[in-house]
């Protein structure tokens, strides 16, 4: 009799808790990414990964008993639309925190709006340095271009032992920042840049530049760009008979790069922030679940946005639903176990400190090559 009573009491409690989570007011978190237009592939990866994170949080009982509702908008990488989205998220949807799964432009124009409204935002992978300068409510989980460029310079001269270097730099803030960091680090250890050419986004033909590089026969070619340009440049380099080492960066980090470059991708080394051979079980679980759900390999854009969301979720768990308290909790994040590595902390202006991963393409997949955690390279600037 007593056992029966206890059993039913526990049962009722579980049901109540379950219903409680169902009917508890959902916690609204805003999210924007380019889901249509030229950047749709990256935006979709970011959204897919964050949806997986939301599912995971809700399956394990939500945040402090409340389910999370992600409010998703498509910014089309368009600054005007992003401004409208930011205002909508603040005024209509009344979100308490925001995750940017978008590029630099939408993140940069919305940062001051969220900061003014006192709503914390964590940018997944946008690289523009001015984003975090909008104010104390804005954080970034990705690397600054300059830091990743420095890491790439380190890989080129100290890991791959290259002396003469050629650079193909994508002609935007991202590529220019990478190039600055790369030059600085390479020069420090005696690397010599013999050729550099800036190319526009969407460039398909690299034959003119590659023919020139072939004549100079450098030890290493560092290419910055997104996977579409990167795959073409690498493929054409090998077709033209260029044999030097090729180094890339996080823009290469996509299953699409491997597919489009095919055999030419073998041996290409990249700096990024997702280590596929990470031994931590939750990283391998994420990779498995993502593949099962979306039928493709996850990429660094997705992993970074996933982490950005989890940082926000973690802060809400600790601090509740007051945006100011959430901001303070994000700012005091310490040694957070992220998909993209151990997130040491956010600095004074909201830049992340975490190691840079080095991956190599082997048998058509990214694998561990090294990790760069030298504080001289990975410490973000304080202003």
């Amino acid at each position: 009799m007593k056992k029966w009573l206890l059993g039913s009491l526990i049962g009722a409690l579980v049901v109540c808790l379950g219903i409680g989570t169902l009917f508890a007011a959902p916690i609204k978190i805003g999210f924007f990414a380019p889901l249509t237009g030229f950047a749709a592939a990256d935006g979709t990866s970011a959204k897919n990964a964050v949806m997986l994170a939301v599912e995971e949080v809700n399956k394990s009982g939500g945040l402090n008993g409340n389910p999370v509702k992600l409010i998703v908008y498509d910014d089309r990488d368009n600054p005007k639309e992003s401004v409208a989205i930011a205002n909508k998220l603040i005024e209509k949807d009344k979100v308490i925190a925001v995750v940017s799964g978008s590029y630099s432009t939408p993140t940069r124009v919305t940062a001051p709006i969220f900061n003014k409204a006192g709503i914390p935002m964590v940018a997944g992978y946008a690289v523009d340095p001015s984003i975090t300068k909008a104010g104390p409510y804005i954080f970034r989980n990705g690397f600054l271009g300059e830091i990743e460029g420095k890491a790439a310079g380190e890989v080129a001269v100290n890991l791959l032992k290259a002396k003469t270097l050629a650079l193909f730099t994508i002609d935007n803030d991202f590529g220019r920042a990478l190039s600055r960091g790369f030059h600085a680090r390479a020069k420090k250890f005696g690397g010599k840049v013999v050729y550099e050419h800036a190319f526009a986004i969407g460039t398909k033909d690299f034959s003119a530049m590659l023919t020139k590089v072939k004549g100079l026969s450098p030890d290493l070619l560092f290419i910055s760009g997104y996977y579409e340009e990167a795959a073409l440049a690498v493929k054409q380099a090998r077709e033209l008979g260029l044999t030097c080492k090729i180094l890339g960066e996080e823009g290469f980090d996509s299953p699409k790069f491997l597919e489009l470059a095919g055999d030419a991708a073998e041996g290409v080394v990249i700096t990024t922030n997702l280590n596929r051979d990470d031994p931590r079980p939750f990283v391998q679980d994420f990779i498995k679940q993502y593949k099962a759900k979306y039928g493709m390999e996850p990429d660094m854009v997705g992993a970074s946005s996933y982490d950005a969301f989890m940082i926000v979720a973690n802060a809400i768990r600790k601090a509740g639903t007051n945006p100011k308290a959430i901001r303070d909790a994000i700012a005091s994040t310490k040694n957070f176990d992220g998909l993209t590595g151990l997130i040491k902390h956010f600095n004074k202006i909201g830049e992340v400190m975490k190691p840079v991963q080095v991956q190599v393409v082997k048998n058509g997949a990214f694998h561990y090559y090294g990790v760069i955690s030298d504080p001289e390279i990975i410490t973000p600037p304080e202003k």
């Binding site: 889901l35 030229f38 002609d171 526009a200 033909d205 034959s207 003119a208 020139k212 073409l232």
Partner: protein
């Protein structure tokens, strides 16, 4: 290799690179110039037809893994889509101001890009053709198998186009319509059929270009028409609006100038601006384009 030989080798390789790019530009821009010649409208959605050709080729190639058959299927279906576009979009607008079909065309182009994205996803698709042919190597010049494919198909299509336009009755009628549509109509030329024919030819060429670009760069994606949409415009203005030989000349001039300016001068301007610089430079001396008439 002595320095001089090396420079000549590099020069020759850059010419090969430039001709490859020029061939692709020619196939895309020709359709635009033919349509302009006949209807005097700027058919921006032509770049959408080009992207569609790439998707159709990829789709056909999955059923029949023969590139030539896939290309013929893509050309035929693109050609038919051209006729449909003319019948259902432009036909009712021909007596309106010229801005009307232009805006409709831009709208159609955007709609097509989004349709590709909805149907086949935002990601770039590979066009996995494996060439057994080894590259031809002459000294330091390499011509890869995909380059041979681009040259071969372009030459074949240009010869075919020349034959249709200058040797057949249809071609004669097409030239008549493009000189003066109303007069041709009055003299008993079946102008509607000739307009359809011109859209078929143009769109089939664009479809072939789409497949070639897809294979050559191993990538097919929804917005692949963005750059050709305006670059083809620069090329036909450069060649002289509506002039077929002018367009071919313009395409090769732009392809080779781009390659040389990037390969030798290392100018800091984006590559896609170069077509317009070449266009402006030519228009300063020849305001009607290379082979255009007043």
């Amino acid at each position: 290799m002595p320095l001089q030989g090396k420079v000549i080798g590099m020069l020759a390789q850059q010419i090969v690179n430039g001709i490859t790019i020029g061939s692709i530009y020619a196939l895309i821009a020709l359709g635009l110039t033919i349509v302009y010649g006949v209807l005097k409208i700027l058919h921006i959605a032509h770049a959408g037809v080009y992207a569609m050709g790439a998707y159709l080729g990829l789709w056909a190639y999955r059923f029949i893994p023969n590139l030539f058959l896939a290309m013929i299927v893509a050309m035929a279906l693109s050609g038919v889509s051209g006729i449909v576009i003319e019948r259902f979009l432009y036909k009712s607008m021909l007596d309106k101001s010229r801005i009307v079909p232009l805006i409709a065309s831009i709208g159609l182009f955007i709609a097509m890009e989004e349709a590709f994205r909805i149907i086949s996803g935002p990601y770039v698709k590979a066009f996995p053709v494996h060439f057994r042919q080894k590259p031809w190597i002459f000294g330091s010049v390499r011509i890869s198998a995909p380059q041979m494919l681009v040259f071969g198909v372009t030459i074949a299509l240009l010869v075919l186009l020349w034959w249709v336009i200058s040797k057949t009755r249809m071609g004669k009628a097409l030239r008549a319509v493009s000189m003066d549509r109303e007069m041709a109509d009055a003299l008993g030329v079946a102008t509607e059929r000739i307009i359809s024919l011109s859209f078929f030819i143009s769109s089939a060429l664009a479809g072939a270009a789409g497949v070639l670009v897809g294979v050559f760069y191993n990538s097919v994606y929804p917005t692949m028409g963005d750059i050709p949409a305006y670059k083809a415009l620069a090329i036909i203005v450069l060649g002289g609006m509506g002039s077929i030989p002018g367009t071919i000349l313009g395409a090769f001039l732009v392809g080779i100038s781009e390659t040389f300016l990037i390969g030798f001068v290392n100018i800091p301007l984006p590559r896609d601006a170069l077509a317009f610089i070449v266009m402006i430079a030519v228009l300063m001396f020849r305001p009607y384009g290379l082979l255009g008439k007043e």
